[in-house]
Point group: C2
Chain length 236, copies 2
């Protein structure tokens, strides 16, 4: 971490999938609820792995602007045969595709966000669409001040329009916004736009059996185990 | 009102200025805090009266896309000489222009929204920009599930893109969205797009001394004195 002091950020913008909610166990659980014999772990990893390539197809212009709900469905349709899910009905597929709306937050999230909200504007900055993020917030009791999304800026992270867009929405300098994320690449892109950055360890993001590297990157403004630890650091 | 039953709306989208917050007394109070001799009532009415014409200049193409914060400033600048406010500093003007971010909710709003939120997705649908609406929500403790704004749709109400945009964001039919507003023209435009409509009486919107006509329009789905009465009607 850089040495302090930093000006207190006015706005905390949170990455969502992996940082706020546990997509791996949520997706694994939902597919197994439909078809108990499917390898939920492998299915969750495969679905998530299709996410970046699908967004690249949009940003390259190959696909027009597409909501994440529709990209999720596009990826899901390609997983049906490999995972033996060909017999799912259209209603089951629509239900499964909305599993991303029903992901549970990590255990520290609601209390941590509530503390952080007392001193900062807290918002999402996710590639997920607004409706998905609003459903998820209602499902998990996430106390956002505001839901910001790629859908607002018509660009996905790591496009600078997203990070700078948060500063624009609130009429503050980029340095007054802190991106909070469990992914170093997201944080690096935000930092390149002048934002402060906080890395959150989510060692079980890819499943408890596949711990990820959560070692600190010195370029980040903050490094915290979870949202409670971030609130401790920011004095909330 | 039309005769029941109607399907329960999934999403309640709220007009904000006048419906949720009391702009008249808030603006009058703030200008008088700066210059006690100004006629706060006349100033508030004049500032608000500039709003529709300013939006028309944008929608006609005369002005490019402009956030309401900037339209408010444009109108304010034209009121300085008539109201003897020429001596306000730039810092005072910026503070006054943000008075719209600090408007108080009507007394029934927080409890009414909290009740309605238990059964419905509740969101704003305002011509105010996202940052303004988020500041206002934080100031007044407004428990929105989601803040939607003209800024998201790049069109002001009564453009159909705004009303239909709410349905699109949540992936529901227009008839599953109810616009809640204290203005019959807003409700009529929403109804033309297939939304349900609820009229809320706000007789003191233009000041206690200038009561407005709050008589029911039979075309609305609901007519309620305030948000508590609407929650009673919707069973929240």
């Amino acid at each position: 971490m850089n040495s302090l002091p930093f000006p207190a950020p006015k706005v905390l913008a949170f990455d969502v999938f992996g940082t706020v909610v546990d997509w791996h166990s949520g997706i694994a659980r939902e597919v197994q609820a439909l078809r108990p014999l499917v390898d939920g772990n492998a299915f969750a990893l495969a679905w998530r792995a299709g996410y970046q390539p699908a967004m690249r197809r949009v940003m390259s212009g190959e696909l027009g602007w597409t909501l994440i709900d529709d990209l999720h469905r596009l990826i899901l349709d390609g997983l049906l045969a490999p995972f033996g899910l060909d017999d799912l009905s259209e209603a089951e597929l629509q239900h499964l595709n909305k599993a991303w709306h029903r992901l549970d937050p990590w255990p520290d999230v609601v209390q941590g966000l509530t503390r952080l909200k007392s001193r900062h504007m807290i918002c999402t900055l996710s590639n997920g669409n607004i409706g998905l993020l609003a459903d998820m917030a209602k499902h998990g009791g996430l106390p956002w001040d505001c839901i910001l999304s790629a859908e607002v800026f018509r660009a996905y992270k790591p496009d600078p329009a997203t990070y700078l867009g948060v500063a624009g929405v609130f009429g503050v300098a980029p340095s007054e916004v802190m991106l909070v994320a469990a992914h170093q690449d997201d944080l690096a892109a935000a930092r390149a736009c002048g934002l402060q950055t906080a890395y959150i360890e989510r060692p079980a993001e890819f499943g408890a059996d596949q711990p990820k590297d959560v070692s600190p990157c010195p370029a980040n403004t903050r490094h915290a185990r979870d949202f409670m630890a971030l609130a401790d650091q920011l004095g909330g």
